[in-house]
Symmetry: C2
Subunit: 335 residues, 2 copies
């Protein structure tokens, strides 16, 4: 059974559970609040595109890979997806973003105050979903899962703090950048995979390896994304060449360039970047070593992810195979 | 032992636990995020005034009233206070408020994006504090407490939704108004008292009575506050006379007036209210029955609170005595 087959089977189950738990909650006289979050999730009359539900899929595949039935992990899976979407609702406000998945962002549609509040509601809903775990797992497991869930929530806000702080900072170290993406990207992927193992009753040693694999996967994915944002082939990435340079996003190669090259720092501060001069910037970054640095880091995290993954599932089954395939898809080397 | 004696004893214990749990958390490279929340809580170099910590006090008094040692309820008590403060951080943004307790609000000091994120961090911290309950209570109790805690979180956002929606609405029913203050004010007080009983291992029947008492206390307090906002004696309330009318706050008497009097609705929409004409508005509200309606409602909730309270603690002790005294203080009839 391939990843594609399992995805076809599991994504509708995830979507159904996301909806049925959500619509089982009582919103009393605040029906419109329920509609707002449903809109963000892509449901209802004004619904539409939404995310790929990769994080809940990672939970289910990990639980399945250890031979436990995936139904037991469904509540944790949807809790992770609610949590992810709560962060998106607030991120959109914090980034002043108008559009997500081709539709107006929640806060642009209902205003700032309702946007913040709808995010808070979805955060509470994520907690309530996680708490349902006690019906399919033991109480110690449910409590441990809640603790790990909320440690990760705090970690996400630490990463988000750095991300916001970087916007107005001219002097970001690569170490601080790694701490930021650890919180913003890797922490939740790591949690998804660790929870999948926890629900399948794996021991602490195994759980630590699962968390490490998830973190390496998340870091590799982000650093690759950073690489492709400057040197990716537009034909493959679907974005314009060096799009992160034009958008002035402070990604890893750019932070490396700012830290290691006076030339780059000066022209980055002085000259507007457009489609006409973007190649010069990208080439300057190559010449100061930012490209090879970023590629080396991406390869390092990627190799780490695969090497942990290979040790994790000595006996193969459709779920562990799919986990390999998903990791390969996410980390396919496009450079 | 009077309320004052117990307050002098317990408030420093609450404050100490609030700080020691908070400063035990790892903020990694996001030290400034820790400083932001500490500032809001009134701690650190730029600290200062903060709230009275009434909600955690209610938790401890209730636990103590049933003969259980208050240390066992400390984590729930601080979790409730963190939760309350998380809602204040976000409320200040949603209400565009610049000042709280005589100091700049967190978001005015660090910006909108960091303000939202700091609130999210404190929400996560509230959850982590609640989860420590498993070290002093049984696991089933800890899980039940987490569930009630998060049901209340969702209730708070339902109330907040209505509050925000009311700002732009001309047609608010008193029923919707009661649903709003149930979420905004009563739900958290009710939770504080119910959790105090849960930690003292009271049965579900008792817990429901405790929750009802807390809700009646919260509702009575809010409706009294609404009454005093229009007809309170400035000498007693410390506010200017009819301050809620001048601030155009949509409190219960005003909503009643808008619903029941065409005259009031017309002049409310057309004429600016100032210290010169505010008595006319207040008198018009009296003549349409808004004063007696509000007073009757306040008395109804107050009587309900006392009648439940009297049935709850047949055997008196210093904690239950203090709970009576605190209820009397909060609901002292100033009209």
């Amino acid at each position: 059974m391939s990843l594609a087959t399992l995805q076809r089977e599991l994504i509708p189950i995830i979507e159904e559970q996301l909806k049925s738990f959500y619509y089982s909650l009582d919103f009393g006289q605040s029906q419109e609040l329920q509609d707002m979050i449903a809109y963000h999730m892509g449901w209802g009359e004004e619904g539409g595109n939404h995310g790929k539900r990769i994080r809940p899929l990672l939970v289910l595949l990990t639980t399945g890979a250890y031979g436990r039935k995936i139904e037991d992990a469904l509540q944790a899976a949807i809790a992770i997806e609610y949590l992810h979407n709560f962060t998106l609702i607030h991120d959109d406000i914090e980034d002043d973003a108008s559009i997500r998945h081709g539709r107006k962002t929640l806060w642009k549609k209902w205003g700032l105050a309702q946007g913040i509040n709808a995010g808070d509601a979805l955060f509470s809903i994520a907690q309530l979903a996680m708490l349902e775990l006690e019906h399919t797992s033991s109480q110690p497991t449910a409590l441990q899962a809640m603790k790990e869930f909320n440690c990760t929530c705090l970690h996400l806000t630490r990463g988000q703090y750095l991300d916001i702080a970087f916007e107005s900072s001219k002097n970001i170290s690569v170490e601080a950048y790694f701490a930021m993406i650890q919180g913003k990207t890797a922490a939740l992927i790591s949690l998804a995979i660790r929870l999948g193992g926890l629900i399948a009753d794996q021991d602490e040693n195994r759980l630590q390896l699962l968390a490490k694999f998830g973190e390496a996967l998340g870091m590799a994915f982000q650093v690759q994304d950073d690489y492709l944002g400057v040197w990716g082939d537009p034909q493959v990435t679907g974005k314009s060449a060096a799009s992160d340079l034009i958008a002035r996003k402070k990604t890893l190669p750019i932070i490396y360039g700012l830290q290691h090259s006076d030339d780059f720092r000066n022209i980055w501060g002085d000259i507007a970047i457009s489609i006409e001069n973007v190649d010069e910037f990208a080439n300057l970054l190559v010449s100061v070593g930012a490209q090879s640095y970023t590629r080396t880091k991406a390869e390092g995290f990627t190799n780490q992810a695969f090497s942990i993954l290979e040790g994790l599932f000595p006996s193969k089954n459709p779920y562990s195979d799919a986990l390999f395939e998903l990791t390969e898809t996410l980390l396919s080397r496009k450079y």
